[in-house]
Amino acid sequence: MHKLKPITPLGSDTPRQDVIGTITITEVVDQALASVAARTDQGATVRDAMSDKTGLALPDVGKSAEVGPYSAFWMGPDQWMITAAHDSHELLAAELKSSLGDKASVVEQTDGWCRFDVAGAALCDLFERLCNAPVRTMKPGAAIRTTAEHLGVFLQRLADDRIAVFGPRSSAGSLHHGLVAAARSVA
């Protein structure tokens, strides 16, 4: 076990949580991320291999999927983001690459992103102040890439009252500020 201590995207030892009115904003740091892009004409093969390895049916445009420790959302044509628990799958990219071989390009994305899970009844009121995504019509399982606070983000609707936001890690502070300000507006 190496001796380096990690810090969170917001620069602390422990993930941050804010409760504003009925809204809870939680910094999520326990997920490993890897992007999987099918090589030319290998889309079907990659879907099969991913299904064999993880049980995940790689989702279609605008969707996400979840099985066991794994979840996935659509990023672009023949490209997905896979997530799994960091504790048990810190080397997720290597793990996937070993199953997919030269059928796919796999890239570690774990620390490319910060993630905030936003929960509460006023979820849609909050997000319609941050992004142009049609959050009210996004059902659980929907995922979209959009902008919030001038940042490129992914939104993944986890449940009726929960949305995960993935933003660029270096701008975690700005994204967090936007989420908190919007939460205060609607609280």
Partner: protein, 98 residues
């Protein structure tokens, strides 16, 4: 404006970066005899029509697809949207068939 992305559906033009004339897909052969002239024309001689225009837009805040958008520059009406990747593949196939 709203661009009807072939994969993602209607998306705000704010999410896109504009490049220009879609003829930029048809890059000349660098080894052809008149390559210098061909590249000059390719890069500098573009139509700027008042009316229907095929343009390249990049979905930078989305799925990173380049799109070929056929747009009326007078009314902003968008008549067709294609994935540039598909357009380029078709053009390449046509070139190699010749």
């Amino acid at each position: 404006m709203i661009i009807n992305h072939p994969l993602l559906g209607p998306r705000d033009a704010q999410e896109f970066t504009y490049l220009g004339d879609a003829t930029l897909i048809n890059r000349p052969d660098w080894q052809s005899e008149n390559a210098l002239n061909a590249f000059h024309d390719y890069l500098y001689l573009r139509d700027n029509p008042a009316g229907e225009h095929r343009e390249l837009w990049y979905h930078e805040q989305g799925d990173r697809s380049w799109l070929v958008v056929t747009r009326n520059t007078m009314t902003h009406e968008i008549l067709n949207v294609e994935l540039a990747h598909d357009v380029a593949k078709a053009a390449a196939a046509e070139r190699s068939a010749q």
